[in-house]
Symmetry: C2
Subunit: 346 residues, 2 copies
């Protein structure tokens, strides 16, 4: 894998990753961003940090394709974020980050506050505006898994960073503000509630290894020698799917080549089956769950897909019992979802 | 307050609450529902219960006003849920409940499962199809607070129930499937994650009492001698508002008349200001946070409003960092939100 770092005019970094060496010369300028000033505040009842990033309110919102900031530079278009005429995968610092390597001190407040140390990156999967995780060529998806592994290694090396989460919001129903196929990476200076509870569960025992065994029959959607894709028997979303390596890894940075290929293939296949099952581009949240710093010895890496549909024309909304109490209500039994996804041909 | 219990043809109960004695004779029949069969499954990584209610997939979805099941009975309309020509407030068992007093045993599964004991109720605020919490007459809103208090008392009396949460999903953006002004009540047989963490925080100290004092300046939207409505300095949603009695109460069932009136007035005023601020019916989640069973001595009751807008035409979506990691990112500073809501005239 080739990797090249470029400095943007406003000081943000941009990485070009490729099977081939990336282009040497920028073809255009980049838009500049003002220095971000996010900060953290402590929620004393939920006992969690909340991130404040007031500058994000003005972020780019569903621009037309001709003004897409993630497309490669074109002579007839305004400058985008990637000033090259072509690329394979590009990663750059979000222009409207919620977390940043150089945060200002937090304001004086009636609750505890802290600097919003960390990073928010954008991962552009392809120069093609209308592609998707499902339609990427297999080699590009493999490259994406290697890019994630490289970002994990680089971001986790910062002493302030405690947790790194690559994710993809796909579709307007999940709040996507740019259609060009891309994901994001957040590097947090604190351990967020979800990985905190997961790490506590893994500390007690190999929960996911046991599941891969006990839930294999009836819940598996796809598997090969290295990776298993399955509907967890306790799915919180209709048609939720987890993709997990059969050997426990703290993250994709310890994958063998065969595991990388297999994991990449399954991600693409699951995304494709969602689109086929619902006969439309399925909105989803895909999040990678890797070991928080210090839990590498027992945390078992996996990816979780949360589709935001419960039927072709019915969105799954989060409100009421889910957001008010934290108790999820699901309309589709995992056994039924697994069978439907097993039988779907993309 | 008058209260009358009626049995529906399928065995579900219906309560009519009123300042005046409710009508004696039903004006129509009710639709019948098959016996619900929800169950619970344990999520071993997040360490929480998930509720499965497969029958909910077919629930009534955005019917036209002429077929609204929450409108009073009319000779020219199909039978609705409330077979009376008029009423003040009606409460009945949800036809598609996620929790029920008579659940079947759970299926045999590769993860722990349990019966979905509890209740799911629908609270219809008014016979008027196009009203809202904001436009209800003050007396009706007061009656609503008294109805909640009565439902808390009755549902918490069940030995299987550990937590009760009345809430309102308002607007299609929050997943509302019926437009008629109404809320819901879930009575859970387990302590869900949110009240669990809140109760743990209250056990350590009077968190909310302290906040009402320290965050009064700069964060208060409205207050009187009894109740304070404020944007918490650690709000997780843009324009989030909490409404809390100044004296700690475990729930509205220990309110004085003056507290009931004041609390009801503030709920209506906040809902009205949201509509005025965004110049549209603002989608929101309103959840009442009362003491889980056994925490009455220290839990401080309050209501939380989560508006699902971050600007008049921009929805707040839950995905990425919020749903994947549990870390909320907010674009609007609480100080700014509080000032905007303070200056808004409904």
């Amino acid at each position: 894998m080739h990797k090249r770092r470029v400095e943007k005019p406003d000081g943000r970094y941009l990485y070009l990753y490729g099977h081939a060496p990336p282009a040497e010369t920028a073809a255009a300028h980049s838009p500049t961003a003002p220095p971000p000033a996010p900060h953290l505040r402590w929620h004393p009842l939920r006992q969690e940090w909340v991130i404040y990033a007031a500058h994000r309110q003005d972020r780019t919102h569903l621009p037309p394709e001709t003004r897409c900031p993630l497309c490669p530079a074109r002579p007839d278009a305004p400058p985008g974020e990637i000033p090259f005429a072509t690329f394979e995968i590009a990663v750059f610092q979000n222009r409207f980050p919620a977390l940043t390597p150089t945060p200002p001190p937090p304001p004086d407040l009636p609750v505890p506050a802290a600097p919003a140390h960390g990073a928010c990156e954008v991962v552009v999967y392809t120069p093609e505006h209308t592609a998707s995780l499902a339609t990427l060529p297999p080699q590009r998806r493999e490259l994406l898994v290697r890019v994630w592994a490289d970002r994990y290694a680089e971001l986790l090396a910062h002493p302030a960073v405690r947790y790194v989460m690559p994710f993809e919001n796909r579709g307007e129903a999940v709040g996507v503000t740019l259609h060009h196929p891309h994901g994001q990476i957040y590097a947090y200076p604190f351990l967020p509630p979800v990985p905190e509870r997961e790490a506590a569960a893994f500390r007690e025992g190999p929960v996911l290894l046991r599941l891969l065994e006990t839930a294999r029959e009836g819940y598996t959607v796809l598997e090969d020698a290295h990776v298993q894709a399955f509907v967890p028997p306790f799915a919180r979303f209709p048609y939720e799917v987890w993709v997990a390596p059969k050997r426990p890894h703290p993250g994709p940075w310890t994958f063998t080549d065969a595991e990388t290929q297999s994991f990449a293939r399954m991600l693409g296949e699951i995304a494709a089956r969602y689109d086929a099952l619902f006969q439309r581009p399925c909105p989803y949240l895909l999040a990678l769950h890797a070991a928080p710093k210090g839990t590498e010895a027992y945390y078992h890496f996996h990816a979780e897909f949360y589709p935001y549909l419960r039927a072709p024309n019915k969105l799954k909304y989060l409100a009421g019992t889910e957001v008010g109490a934290g108790a999820f209500t699901v309309d589709v039994l995992p056994e039924v979802a697994a069978q439907a996804l097993r039988e779907t041909r993309a």
